[in-house]
Every structure is written in C-alpha cells, then in structure tokens.
C-alpha cells in the first residue's frame, strides 16, 4: 500500500477518528485505524469502538493499493506534528508503515486488517435528509436531559422520531423532559423511531456544523449519518422509550411570558446559596412580580425578584434550579413561556413553537 495526500486533510480526518479509537483492552486491534487504498484514487479510513464507527473517504494519489491497520493515536500525532504540505505513507507487506512528510520520516508498526471488525452493512435502509446545523440544534436542545442512570438504559439516549415530515427529539431522566419538534421536508411517509446512545449524540454534536446536508440512514439495529466524505454508524439502544406524550401536560392553568436573560440571571444568583445537600429554590408568582427565595441552614438565605406580566393568584412552586438553568442555557430566544397549574404539578417551559421542557416540582417544606 502506498499513497500521497495533503497532510492537513489527513490530519483533519484522523482528528475526528480519534474520538472513537479505543483504549479497549478486550479487543486491542480497536486502538488501530483501518486504512484501505483502492485502485480508484480513494483512501478509506475506518475507526470503531463497536458502539460508534466512523469512516472517511479521501481523494489521494494512489501509488499502490492495499489494506492494513495502523495505531490510531500515533498516526494522528505524527500527521499533526509533521511540517510538510504533502504526506506520503507506504506500508510493506509485513505491515510496517513508512510515513514521510517534509524531511521527517517515521516507521510505524501496523497490524493485518483481517482481524479488524468491519462496519456493519446497513440493510433495509430508510433515508432522511437534514441540514447539519438543524440536526445539531435538535440534539443540543435535548442532550443535557439524557439520564445517566444505567439501570434505566432506555433513557441513556435521545429518542429520535421521524413521522409525517416532522422530526421529534426527546430526552428525559425522569425528573425533567426536553422535547423539540421541527417541521422538515422529509418524506411524510417515512416513519422511524430510534434511541440514539448518549455517546453517539456527543460525537455527532462535535462533528456537525455548517450548512452541509446530513443523510440519516435508518436501519433495524443501526443508524448511519452521512456527511460529505464521512459516514458515522452507531448502534441503537434496545427497548421501548416511555410514552413521553403522557408526561407533557395538555392544559395548564397559567401561562406567563418571562424575559429569558433576567430569569436565568436571578435563578443563578439565588441558587448561589444552594449546596449539594439542599437544592431547592422557591418561585413566588404574585401580581406583576416573580420572587425567588432559597435558604440553606448551613449557609444562609437568598432572595431576588423580577417584574413579570402576571395577573393571577398568589402562587408558590419549588424547583431544582439546575434543571431550569440547563434548559435556559441552550435557548437563544429573548422570551420564554412558563406554564404551571399547581405546586404539585409539573411546570412547563416553552420557547418558540418547537421547544417544550417539562420539569417536576420539588416538595415545598
């Protein structure tokens, strides 16, 4: 195997592949990257940790075709530190790679590609297309609500649904639930629902940006994301996501418009008094104002208020401020809608026409 290519292009691809190159001790070959050169001027780089796999196809100048695997981390570090504009890689039949760029030369011990697990082939695929920035936004608005409790593994990911041309993404940890719904141009006949593992969601958010088109390939057990010259394939979480629709209150008694920035600021201020042990902030709505109070017997007390357009009865409800801040942090709207019925029923935070956030109240003491 022998090829020459742009060093920066190769480095960029290897940089993304690093995220899935494993330190898996059970299958040591996974710390290598599969390098394949076909006869058609194409270099394929593949890395997988058996959960998420990423594959790049790059145009290169092919001198000799072949396949092998090379240590992922070292290869990345070399391409990063070398100085030349072009890089030349030649791998002998006993899997020893010679890597040249500028005046620097490396010899790198590789392994045969026979043992490397191939990315699964996606069968019976349905495809949907989305813009990278849209997909990223959908994930960003939900990912923080993913549960980290391994015992409820169906919640360890986002529920990604495509139906009637809408994309709905939901995540919950049982105490709060984030949902975004987006109208898209996807074929209205496509009906798919998958649970994407948290790791995959994080990888995707790292990769997705700009206006490139992402092709989503749904299959029975795996999902693929195709962006330009990159393909990412992920396994899915087994099981049935809980009926999230049931959790979202259909009707609430009150709905208040709140200036987001100020709301976020006073929550942050008042919750300064909270420590790990006590994490409760009281929200008092009365005519024209919202007052936040928090008290912590070990530290002290805090109080702050803001004016709002509220005309209803005097009303008190308590929330964990962290959960509210999580959602407020990722919203860019100036105003949000806050809805509630009673102090023992969930509060609902809405923004735009696509974002819904349900949060369970805490018990008032």
């Amino acid at each position: 195997m022998h090829f020459i290519c742009e060093r920066s292009v190769l480095n960029e691809a290897l940089h993304i592949l690093q995220n899935v190159v494993g330190t898996n001790t059970t299958l040591p070959i996974l710390s290598n990257i599969l390098v394949e050169v076909s006869d058609k001027k194409e270099l394929t780089l593949t890395a997988t940790n058996l959960e998420v796999g990423i594959q790049f196809k790059l145009d290169v100048e092919v001198k000799d075709q072949g396949t092998c695997t090379l240590p992922g981390r070292k290869l990345f570090e070399m391409t990063k530190e070398m100085a030349g504009e072009k890089i030349e890689i030649e791998v002998s039949s006993d899997y020893i790679g010679i890597i040249k760029s500028g005046n620097a030369v490396f010899r790198l011990m590789g392994l045969s590609s026979d043992e490397y697990p191939r990315l699964p082939r996606l069968d019976k695929v349905h495809t949907a297309k989305l813009t990278a920035s849209v997909l990223r936004d959908l994930l960003k608005k939900t990912a923080y609500a993913i549960s980290s409790d391994e015992a409820r593994y169906v919640l360890n990911g986002v529920y990604f649904i495509v139906a009637k041309g809408d994309v709905v993404v939901v995540a919950t940890d049982g105490r709060r639930l984030a949902m975004v719904k987006k109208k898209t141009e996807i074929d209205p006949n496509l009906d798919a629902g998958i649970i994407l593992p948290a790791k995959t969601v994080n990888e995707l958010m790292r990769i997705l940006h700009g206006d490139i088109e992402v092709e989503i390939l749904f299959s029975e057990t795996q999902v693929g994301f195709k962006l330009a010259n990159m393909l990412m394939i992920s396994r899915l979480i087994e099981g049935k996501f809980p009926n999230y629709d049931q959790v979202i209150p259909k009707k609430t008694k009150e709905s208040v418009v709140i200036q987001k920035e100020e709301f976020q600021n006073i929550i942050r201020r008042v919750s300064l008094i909270n420590t790990g042990k006590s994490n409760l902030v009281k929200f008092r709505f009365n005519d024209g104002s919202l007052t936040l109070t928090a008290s912590n017997p070990d530290v002290g007390e805090a109080k702050d208020d803001m004016s709002i357009e509220y005309k209803g009865d005097d009303f008190v409800i308590a929330f964990n401020p962290v959960y509210l801040l999580d959602a407020l942090k990722i919203l860019d709207d100036e105003q949000i809608n806050f809805e509630f019925s009673e102090s023992t029923a969930p509060g609902v935070l809405k923004s735009g026409d696509d974002f819904t956030y349900v949060i369970m109240p805490m018990k008032l003491r």
Binding site: T23, T26, E51, D123, E150, Y153, N156, T221, I237, E238
Partner: protein
C-alpha cells in the same frame, strides 16, 4: 468442532431447553470442570445465534466461526482481572452498557461471565436488574464452580445447571483423539485428572507430568537413609520457585497487567499476583505428594495396581511399598496435610519441607 465437544453438548440439558424453545434469559453453569462449562456456553451461544437453519448450529457459517474464535461482537466475555482477580463494578457497568444496545449484527446477544462468583458485592448488585430482566434477545451465562460465593439474590434470578465430572474413559478418549496424546500417557493423565477436562488440559499445557515424576522420585528418595534431607528440601524449594517464576512470566496479560481502565498494576498489586501464583504452585506440589502417598498406602495394603492413580509407577511402588504398618503410613499422610497448613500459616517453605521430609523418613525408614 470436535466430536467430543459436540457429544457433550448433545447430552446437555441446555440442548433440550433450546429445542423446546423455552430458553431462560440467565443461566448459572455450575460444576468443578471449567472447560466443560465453557464449551457448553460456546455451544449454547452458537445454537442461539447460528444463521443456518436446520441443525442446532453448523459450525461453518461466519457467525459460528466468530463465536469459536471469541471474535463475535455480540458474544461478550467477562472475566475477573487485576490483582484481586475480581469482576469490578466498572466492568459490570461496561457490559451492561453494551447489552443495552441493539445487537451489532442484528441477532441475539449473549454475555458469558467466567468465574462470575468473583464479582464483588457492588458489581453483583449492579448486575441484579440485568440478570432479572435483560433487554430483548439478550442471554446471560454465569459460570462458577459452586453457588456458595454468590449473593442469594443473583442465584435466585438464574436457572442453575450442574455439570458433573466425566468418567475416566471419556477423558482418555478426549486426550487421545483431540490432543493426540499417546495412549499410555493419556491413561495416566486421565487418572490424575479425576474426570475433569480442565485438569487434563493442565497436564498438557505445562510440564506437570514431568514435575509429577520428579515429586514421586523425591518421595522415594526419602526412603534411602543416606539421603540428606536438608539438601533435598533445598533443591525441592528451588524447583518450586523456578516453576512459579515461569508461570508468572506466562500469566496472560488480562490477568497480570490489566486493570479495567487499562492502567498498569502497582508494584504491590503485582507482588500479590505473583504471590498467588506461587501459592498455587506450592499447592500443586502438595497435591501430587499426597496422591503419591495415597497410592503408596493403597498398594501397600492391597497390592492392586488397578486402584492406583499413578498407574505407570507400579514398578517403583512395588519396590518400596511392602510391609509398612497402616498407622505409620497414615501418619505420613497427616504430616503432608500439616506441612501444607504450616506453609499457609506463613512458615518458610524450606523449613516446612525439611521437617516434613525428616518426619516421613523417621516413620518409614526403620
């Protein structure tokens, strides 16, 4: 797949369970023979996953081949590691995370936990839910010698299957046809292995058979009144140390170096792994010595070569074993047991051996 492994599978209860379509999602494979349980677990994984229809499994398709070579992404293996030879909570969590995903190849998933009784309490507790209610198409096989070390909550969630020892002739067959061991040697190993495939394989892997010869020879040398006990004890200790050092070098990396996060063991942990290998080697020595003494007693009493474990040593036995009183011989046996206990109680091995050899010599050399 070998005919013997297939025969074992055919006779197993699991085969009938799969046949009837009532597979439980968690099995606990018990019994003294590790190898037999692992073979059956592999066969069960193949039977559940083989893509060929018809027979239980074909052993030819890519799925079966990958399972055989431990390379199937949907067959997960978990075994204890680290200095304390434990299955730790991080390992349990990582296998749970993988099991919660849909299968890599779209079929069923099987997790095989070797020495599952080495799960520490936290790991065992975290596995409870997975064992009770695994995700769809997921099967767990826990392998252990007995249920004693398990949390009762784990045991009650699994279907127990007990694998008894084989008869001697099966072991001889296995050694002769699968491992190409010459018949006379196979007979001896089979007697020593007590119907346990794992033990029989151990005799093939290292030079334990030769080690046995040395120990038997050593036993007889004690009978010569001119033998210097102290010198004998010294060389014997040295041989044991040499063997232990060799086995330390041969510890598979997943037991010696690997902690689950991939970091190296500290020197203290390393020392503890080496110590346990050394202890294992010493216990092998005493086991062989004890068997040798047992044969001596039996031959002395009955003169029947058929009853001997070391059946190839009749000639040497007949030279020495005549006319000893049962009492003296039994006292020797007790001394061997006491010596091992003294070693476990941290007495220096060399002293243990000196005293033991001296006592045996006093009893048997009038």
């Amino acid at each position: 797949m070998s005919s013997i492994k297939y025969e074992l599978w055919n006779r197993s209860l699991i085969r009938r369970v799969i046949d009837s379509g009532r597979v439980a999602h968690a099995y606990l494979f018990l019994g003294p023979d590790q190898q037999k349980k692992i073979w059956t677990a592999i066969s069960m994984a193949k039977a559940l996953m083989c893509s060929e229809t018809g027979a239980f499994f074909c052993d030819q398709c890519p799925t079966c081949k990958k399972i055989n070579s431990h390379n199937h992404p949907d067959v997960l293996w978990l075994r204890p590691s680290g200095a304390r030879r434990e299955i730790k909570i991080e390992m349990a969590r990582s296998i749970q995370a993988t099991l919660s995903l849909k299968s890599y190849e779209g079929g069923k998933k099987v997790a095989i936990l070797i020495d599952a009784d080495r799960m520490n309490t936290e790991a065992a507790n975290s596995m409870l839910k997975t064992i009770e209610e695994p995700a769809d198409n997921t099967y767990l096989i826990l392998i252990a010698a007995d249920v004693e070390r398990f949390l009762p909550t784990i045991v009650s969630r699994c279907q127990q299957v007990y694998f008894p020892l084989e008869d001697r002739s099966s072991i001889v067959d296995f050694l002769a046809s699968e491992c190409h061991v010459e018949p006379s040697r196979a007979e001896v190993i089979a007697s020593l292995a007590y119907g346990n495939y794992s033990e029989a394989i151990k005799y093939l892997d290292d030079d334990r058979l030769e080690w046995r010869e040395y120990i038997i020879d050593l036993f007889f040398r004690i009978f010569h009144s001119e033998t210097d006990i102290f010198e004998l004890a010294e060389t014997c200790e040295k041989r044991i140390i040499d063997r232990a050092e060799l086995s330390v070098k041969n510890i598979p990396p997943d037991q010696a170096g690997a902690t689950p996060d991939g970091s190296d063991l500290t020197s203290m942990e390393r020392a503890s792994v080496e110590k346990s290998v050394f202890n294992e080697e010493v216990s092998v020595f005493f086991q062989i010595l004890e068997l040798c003494c047992r044969d001596f007693i039996i031959y002395n009493e009955t003169g029947d070569a058929e009853l001997l474990v070391n059946s190839d040593k009749v000639e040497a036995l007949s030279r020495y074993a005549r006319g000893f009183s049962m009492e003296r011989l039994l006292r020797c046996m007790v001394e061997i047991g006491n010596a091992f206990k003294a070693y476990q109680g941290n007495t220096k091995l060399q002293f243990v051996l000196e005293i033991l050899f001296d006592r045996i010599q006093q009893e048997l050399v009038a």
